[in-house]
Symmetry: C2
Subunit: 349 residues, 2 copies
DNA sequence: GAGCAGGCTGGGAGCGCTCCCATGTGGAGT
DNA sequence: ACTCCACATGGGAGCGCTCCCAGCCTGCTC
């Protein structure tokens, strides 16, 4: 009779059946007592709760999700190297927003990495098995097939960022993005208003829509300036501090008369500020700098940095809310939300 | 007959039963064909695989884990603010090691945050429901009851760091830690060998064993020096760059004759280096600095920093391997592993 | 005092899967 | 030709839970 499949000393985990027996009620009543207690007498209620406590009962989530068709947890999938995931405060901030919203709805959040092709394939297989009720995917590079593939499996997907191509029309796929084009334009127009005429750009990865959008915002303004927007006036970075420093050095080398820089995020702005200082340029007198993000709690990254604020926490919350709506099958107000940004002027411009 | 519980257009997800019917075999044969194919004829094998592909079959993981009693995924639980989780490269590095090992064993890794008391309670309830076969917990503060509580629920736990108190003897709880005491001692002895006599310490949080161990290592050496180890010679930090800078300023204020600093991690060393520079001290001529960690790929954090290397990736792998052993019920070579560190001398000392 | 709601209760059905066992089926051994 | 065994197969049992429905017992109304 003793099933010793488990390794924990042979003691069997208590099941609902055992709790019911201990409480002297049926399985059905025990289930009701433990889940809201509708149509359960006070006596039964207390007996069941006492029995559950006595036995240390914990409902088996696999059994529950098998019958419910829901696991009660959602995934935050990051298509990014673990290195950048953990070094860029952007992800932390999105995660904070998502997390805050989910906690309020009693949904468990799990993070999962899907960087290499093998991991992405495994991620697809796994999520298709429905251990998660839905997923939020951030940091999508290129024309990544993963979000669309997961959505096609019937698992709701929300993308943090823009969606291009045919995936835009998939019913099970929504997105939340900042208005990167307008934000970038505002930043550069601000530099122009400050009298700058030689404004460089340190872009994000150009295989990401966010990288291209901010570049395009910069270009649309700078190309109207006397000098135009020669290709050497924008340098591609990868959102890391080191790449920001390197890009700033290259900008300076190609354009010694540089008097303004717009970087695609604040972390790269930090790198650029360091490089400018090393090159003997004063900020903002010689070169004015504007970043992008303005994440809360990251004043330390680049003190006094003028930047374009995107409401990342609120965006995270919106992603979570959107996903929960989709999971419940409720209609979305807008499948692809775009939230606006604000210029925050400080000392570097 | 049509069950419209699902929201995905009414198309029912294919089950194993349907695949079997499509392939013209029984459920049992289909199951065998899809899992290794033992005792399955070539004909049946191919028919099942074709049918599965045609229907887009994906096994339901809840059903599988219900019968197997295993979910095939393990959790990396971080008892830390999302902010620090994502800003300290230490976590990324542990995660990388854990991840590498698990991928090789075809186990899915999920990260979960458990910072606030409410989240920790939820984490306990959740993990007790066995959605995970085991958990690795890192960044444990104080006498955290969470690891012990999870282990007591019968879920194997591996702690990244040291374990103190009664939890040490729990059968379902193991740990992997660096030899922080010896590492710290080596660092400070190195400074002494360099002729330094006024060696301060910027410690980690003292509610963490790792913080206390490295402090103790420093103290054991410094207390033997002529000036001893007055309380003002060590300042508590929280492993962040800002706290390192602030601590360095306080050390300098209390001890203008400071000629050496040992910081409990590299990130704080970076902050300290900045503060020392601002205070006009030359490194290493005026003040020598030694950090702790030497994480791969983080040369950018503090170039040329002399530091104590702990093999964090290998430790992550060891945590994962240990957990897998426990899950399989195999005996552990050592329940509490301690790995040794190496001093890496560079330019700051 | 019969009739009737409405609250409680027990237990069957079933979620989708893997294991197990009884039952085939062919080829090798005598 | 007969036995024997290895391989192949189908389908029942059961993992632990929630839903559902029939049946019960109250307490109330007329």
């Amino acid at each position: 009779m003793e099933d010793s499949r488990t390794a924990d000393g042979g003691r069997q985990r208590p099941t609902l059946e055992m709790v019911a027996a201990e409480a002297g009620v049926s399985r059905g009543t025990a289930s009701r007592a433990l889940n809201g207690g509708h149509n359960v007498s006070r006596r039964a209620m207390e007996a069941v709760q006492a029995a559950a406590a006595r036995l240390g009962y914990r409902p088996n989530l696999a059994a529950r999700s098998l019958v419910l068709g829901r696991s009660g947890s959602i995934g935050l999938v990051v298509s990014e190297s673990d290195e950048r995931l953990f070094s860029d405060p952007y992800f932390a901030t999105v995660a904070r927003g998502v997390h805050a919203e989910l906690m309020a709805h009693d949904v468990q959040l799990v993070l999962a990495l899907a960087q290499t092709p093998a991991e992405r394939e495994r991620m697809l297989r796994w999520s298709a098995g429905r251990p998660l009720d839905g997923v939020i995917i951030i940091s999508v590079h290129g024309a990544d097939p993963l979000p669309g593939a997961i959505a096609t499996e019937g698992v709701p997907v929300v993308i943090g960022g823009a969606v291009e191509g045919p995936d835009r029309d998939l019913p099970g796929l929504a997105s939340v993005d900042a208005d990167n084009l307008a934000g970038a334009r505002t930043a550069v127009e601000h530099l122009v208003a400050r009298g700058r005429t030689r404004i460089g750009h340190i872009s994000g990865p150009l295989d990401m829509v966010v990288g291209r959008d901010r570049l395009e915002g910069w270009r649309s303004v700078v190309s109207g300036l006397p000098g135009g927007a020669p290709s050497t006036l924008s340098v591609e970075g990868d959102f890391t501090e080191a790449s920001g420093a390197e890009a700033a050095r290259r900008l300076l080398a190609a354009h010694p008369d540089l008097d303004g820089v717009f970087t695609a995020n604040d972390v790269m702005a930090r790198g650029a500020l360091g490089a400018l200082q090393q090159a003997g340029r004063r900020v903002p007198q010689d070169v004015a700098v504007v970043g992008f993000d303005d994440l809360p709690g990251t004043e330390g990254i680049a003190p006094g940095l003028t930047t374009v604020r995107q409401p990342v926490i609120e965006m995270g919350r919106l992603m979570a809310r959107t996903l929960l709506m989709m999971i419940e099958g409720r209609p979305l107000a807008e499948q692809h939300a775009v939230v606006s940004t604000t210029l925050v002027v400080r000392e570097t411009s």
